[in-house]
């Protein structure tokens, strides 16, 4: 029996989250196969073959998989699921979308957002915004799992897996892609960045995020935000860090004008070093910060920028 990892990719490239899931899969017993389902996805396929520890790359290259519509991808995964004991995907918005559909079609429970693999049937996962860690044992014959990518290192890219072309067509025809507004950015992706600087309601408006951008440029950082900053329209939704946004764990997280609500902390408190800049010395963010600076951000951030 083997383990199936569903690749996260944009047809051209494999996303690093796939490498994190492959590392998680190495804690289980069996060959690791990676499914690349997409359209004109030979770029992603080639990269997948290089992920260390992967035995086979299964490729389903067909127009109906181009936009990762859950209905089609789930049917494809179910169709090839017979020989796998575990099916894993990253807990990205794609994985969160199709994996529960897969598990319901297979009549098994899903184990969401695992942070540790204790054995082939026992896993740790955070609940209640990370305020509790549950150890759960699953009794289903197949385990369908989404993986919190920050909990596992990325597998290296020095492997050489065999490629298997799948002739699987699954087009339910009940959903259709219309358009996508994907932010183009030269910055690293939030979930893969070494350094993140995030702004909150204290930033006051979107324009003021420029002062964070300048620091980010110097540090090679990604830019994040609190829900309040997104809801207020300062920055787009994909900036949101937190329980219900993105989970991040960079080497350095700088929180600027963010109070530190439970829901925000849930998304960043596993960062290696946390810096908080806030003018309120009682802000809860200081309870998790390694280095706190009680100051007005509009003077502190430009000063930081100048000193870097």
């Amino acid at each position: 029996m083997s383990i199936l990892v569903i690749a996260e990719h944009d047809n051209e490239e494999i996303k690093a989250s796939t490498n994190n899931v492959v590392t998680a899969a190495t804690n289980l017993e069996g060959d690791i196969h990676v499914l690349v389902a997409g359209s004109n996805c030979s770029g992603a396929k080639d990269q997948a073959t290089k992920i260390a520890g992967v035995a086979k790359v299964l490729v389903a290259d067909s127009p109906e998989y181009e936009h990762c519509l859950a209905e089609n991808i789930a049917d494809l995964i179910v169709a090839i699921s017979a020989n796998y004991t575990h099916i894993l995907s990253p807990a990205t918005t794609n994985g969160k979308n199709y994996m529960p559909r897969v598990s319901a079609l297979l009549d098994v429970a899903q184990i969401s957002d695992i942070t540790s693999i204790e054995s082939s049937d026992t896993f740790e996962r955070p609940i209640y915004a990370g305020n509790c860690i549950a150890t759960v044992q699953n009794s289903d014959s197949k385990k369908v799992i989404t993986v919190r990518t920050t909990a596992f290192d990325a597998a290296q890219n020095d492997g050489s897996a065999e490629v298997v072309d799948l002739q699987e067509s699954h087009n339910l025809g009940i959903s259709e892609f219309i358009k996508e507004e994907i932010a183009e950015s030269d910055r690293p992706e939030l979930t893969a960045a070494d350094v993140i600087i995030s702004g909150g309601r204290g930033m006051q408006n979107g324009d003021n995020f420029k002062i964070l951008e300048s620091v980010a440029d110097k540090l090679g950082a990604a830019i994040g935000a609190s829900r309040a900053a997104v809801d207020s329209g300062f920055v787009p939704n994909d900036y949101q860090v937190g329980q219900t946004g993105k989970i991040v764990a960079p080497n350095l997280y700088i929180a600027v004008g963010i109070s530190g609500a439970i829901q925000h902390l849930a998304g960043m408190k596993d960062s290696k070093v946390i810096v908080a800049i806030n003018k309120d010395e009682d802000a809860p963010i200081f309870q998790v910060a390694d280095y706190g600076l009680v100051a007005d951000l509009f003077t502190a951030v430009p000063e930081l920028d100048a000193k870097l």
Binding site: R101, E180, I182, A183, Q243, T244
Partner: protein, 250 residues
């Protein structure tokens, strides 16, 4: 158009939950309970569709103990027309909840099922997708905009890279994200009126579906604690610490 809104009773989002001392579960003694915020957004969206003349009836449903009637009354006060409690003492997992909800869909034949994307206690983010699978319906998860256009729903979704718009055939499953709308507060007259609205109680057992948990919680422990940090006096100190102590910048 008939809309079904499954809602969940959860610990209020302001409560910081802790594991029990013996790690057998979560300590929920005397904590404040509320309707899951994402479910509240789902109810609000349904009410707006009704106010716009698109929807004719809104049914709120929950799976849980009789205490969950409180959250159903909240949904009724926000504008749902009637409510159903599927009563059970079992700690039902998303798959079981989806099976129960499928039973309700079979009885009520709604055109649209609006759920929250995630319950803020279990944080599973599974139920709507599982319900879509069991019904054979299309799913539009993490919605930040919903438009009904004839026999289709056009939904903008919050995805990792930004926004994605898809069109799905009705009936379909939609799960709400934070930016779908800003829920209203229930007015006092509406809270009073909600007490008169119909609330049916069904025993989960009568639906004939398997809701036995597949997962066993072996223990619930506290997360690792971060060691207390320090307050630096100046930006200069901060940069020095980051360079020479933490060594995270050069």
């Amino acid at each position: 158009m008939k809309i079904l809104v499954p809602i969940k009773r959860v610990v209020d989002y302001n409560v910081k939950v802790r594991p029990k001392a013996d790690e057998s579960g979560v300590d929920l003694n005397n904590v404040k309970m509320a309707i899951n915020p994402f479910c509240e957004i789902a109810v609000e969206e349904a009410v707006r569709l009704k106010e716009a003349g698109t929807a004719t009836e809104i049914i709120a449903v929950t799976v849980g103990t009789s205490a969950s009637q409180e959250q159903l009354r909240t949904a009724l006060a926000l504008g749902a027309d009637r409510a159903i409690l599927v009563e059970t003492d079992v700690e039902v997992e998303p798959l079981g909840i989806a099976k129960v909800l499928k039973g309700i869909i079979d009885k009520e034949s709604p055109d649209l099922i609006l759920l929250g994307k995630q319950a803020i206690d279990g944080d599973n983010n599974q139920t709507s997708q599982m319900l879509a699978a069991l019904s054979g319906y299309a799913q539009a998860t993490f919605a930040s905009e919903l438009k009904i256009e004839g026999e289709k729903a056009v939904v903008t979704r919050e995805v990792d890279g930004g926004l994605q718009t898809i069109s799905v055939n009705l009936p379909c499953i939609v799960s709400s994200d934070l930016r779908l709308n800003e829920p209203r507060y229930a007015s006092l007259p509406n809270i009073m009126k909600a007490k008169q609205k119909p609330l049916d109680v069904i025993e989960a057992g009568t639906l004939g579906v398997d809701i036995e948990p597949r997962n066993k919680t072996l223990k619930v422990s506290p997360p690792p604690v971060r060691e207390a940090g320090i307050i630096v006096e100046t930006v200069e100190d901060l940069v020095d610490k980051l360079k020479n102590e933490a060594k995270v910048i050069t």
